[in-house]
Symmetry: C2
Subunit: 164 residues, 2 copies
């Protein structure tokens, strides 16, 4: 399968919340996101890695305009499930390489990480699939991240139409 | 924007590796995935959450057939970057709800997490975007996860064509 890079997208309209130390058993993720949905808070990227010692962290992004509301709800839920804390980062940017067949071309993800590293851009979060490689970086690094990715991958000029 | 659920996909052909406690500065992700690419190991899902205390974990999935090779490489790299450990789970299943517009419909992700919780299926990893909600569960829970998601979402019968 050919790897196709169709575009590079970016988004600086969101903020990130991280619930630290949530218990890792059934029902926890539902308990966190059902109230968010009820409050009509648009949740975009959700990232949860594997637990250690029975707890893990859950991060998610929301429009900056709804950050305060999301933080209030998250704090209540964190308390009720005895999570350790709620961290907030309102200065993030999401940068995504969009394409197809990238699972069969591991060099693509490696190259994304390499160009960002060579530009001294730290990668705060990673979420990938065969059609999308998304990295959360500092908001201040977003434009430069987009620039170096364009220089490396030279995708067709469709990035304006592609959501991050 | 209308939320559209186009299918439910699942994949039990992969294994998961987690490098625990990698340093969180530029170059680390590249150092891990460049050798994987050089060794032609197809990396599918990469998940990294936000760091605490300057370190974080990076998880990724590979075809089970390449697990041993991936583990060998990962262990060497983990040592060189003084990561804490390499964990492996060869009994995972990936289940994905595929669609569009899900960022604007937070109830969809919440419902995915709820149906899995009600089926007593623990969610080990989460990675979402506006077009895909992916959960890693125990391999033994995969069929049941697909079943309860089908019951809840009743997507068009396209799940056989949709990659997880
Ligand atoms: C941490 C959270 O994902 C939990 N494992 C659940 O299934 O809800
Ligand atoms: C942890 C890893 O992603 C690191 N922050 C990097 O940029 O490579």
């Amino acid at each position: 399968e050919q790897a196709v890079i169709s575009g590079i997208a970016h988004d600086t309209s969101e903020a990130k919340l991280t619930i630290r130390g949530v218990p890792d058993f059934p029902g926890i993720a539902a308990q966190l996101f059902e109230p968010m949905a009820t409050a009509d808070i648009n949740v975009d990227m959700i990232v949860q890695n594997t637990s250690t010692d029975g707890t893990t962290d859950i991060s998610f992004t929301v429009p900056k305009s709804t950050l305060d509301q999301a933080r209030t709800i998250a704090s209540e839920i964190a308390n009720s499930m005895r999570a350790r804390s709620v961290d907030v980062d309102s200065s993030i940017g999401k940068v995504s390489l969009v394409g197809a067949g990238m699972k069969s071309h591991p060099g693509v993800a490696a190259a994304v990480f390499r160009v960002l590293a060579d530009a001294s851009i730290n990668i705060g979060m990673i979420s990938t699939s065969t059609i999308r490689i998304s990295c959360v970086v500092a908001e201040a690094d977003t434009d430069r991240a987009v620039q170096v990715l364009h220089e490396r991958f030279e995708p067709p000029n469709v990035s304006e139409e592609v959501g991050a």
